[in-house]
Amino acid sequence: MIAAIVVFATIGDVMIAAAMRSIGDLDDIKAARGLSGAILAVLGSARFVSGVFFMALSFFSLLFALSHADLSLVAPASASLTFVTNAVAAKIFLKENVDRRRWIAAVFVCAGVILMAH
């Protein structure tokens, strides 16, 4: 159940990030075509729509998991695992330069979220 939340959230996040990268700098688009132009550019992206779809799947997986397990288990586990899987997926699929600094940060946030759940 937690794996479903994590996988769908990661796919959703990566698709949305890929969509925003392909659309380009929203500040430039807003300067050229106004706010409505920027909104249309985002909504017209198929990757963005698929990303939102996967985020919705992740949300419903979360609701399903919460009907079977405590929030105090599900929330920190899914949040921290999603952080790490996002870093891995960003390196592989978005070709981001995930340097040692960002890996250490991912581990720190993971540990921090788990500790804050206590």
């Binding site: 925003m20 380009g24 921090g112 500790l115």
Partner: protein, 147 residues
């Protein structure tokens, strides 16, 4: 990274937990919603806290998308985590809740992680972006970063 962009990341960090908190406060006022009376949810949307919560979450999503257009996902994500820290600090200093040593350690780790990432470069320039750029980024190799 300009001051304005750091401000956008600040909006990302703050609006999500505040929006969630307001939704929670609003639903507490509405009370338990039975599956046989789901129309109560429509009435719930009209409460001020829920409306403010929705507004803040829309602001979160808009600023999150904007930040992804000029920064890497792995640069923006720690900003979303600092929201946990803000909520915990608000709970301690505004609502006078107790925070355990484990939670303080968690706050420290997340803050350190965000500081770590914020000091580094924010965007990975791809080969395609190099080739289509009007400027000729001499000496910038594919996968190189710009701040």
């Amino acid at each position: 990274m300009t001051f304005r962009r750091y401000l956008v990341l600040g909006v990302v960090a703050v609006t999500a937990p505040l929006g969630d908190t307001l939704l929670s406060a609003g639903m507490e006022k509405v009370g338990p919603v039975s599956i046989n009376h789901l129309s109560l949810l429509i009435y719930a949307v009209r409460t001020p806290q829920i409306l403010m919560g929705i507004t803040l979450l829309i602001a979160f999503f808009a600023s999150y998308l904007a930040s992804l257009s000029w920064a890497d996902l792995t640069y923006v994500l720690p900003a979303t985590s600092i929201g946990n820290v803000i909520v915990a600090l608000l709970a301690r200093f505004w609502r006078h809740e107790q925070i355990s040593p484990a939670r303080w350690l968690g706050i420290l780790l997340i803050t350190a992680a965000v500081g770590f990432v914020a000091q580094g470069p924010s965007y990975t320039v791809t080969e395609k972006e190099c080739a289509t750029s009007e400027l000729t980024p001499a000496g910038i190799a594919p996968g190189a970063r710009r701040s």
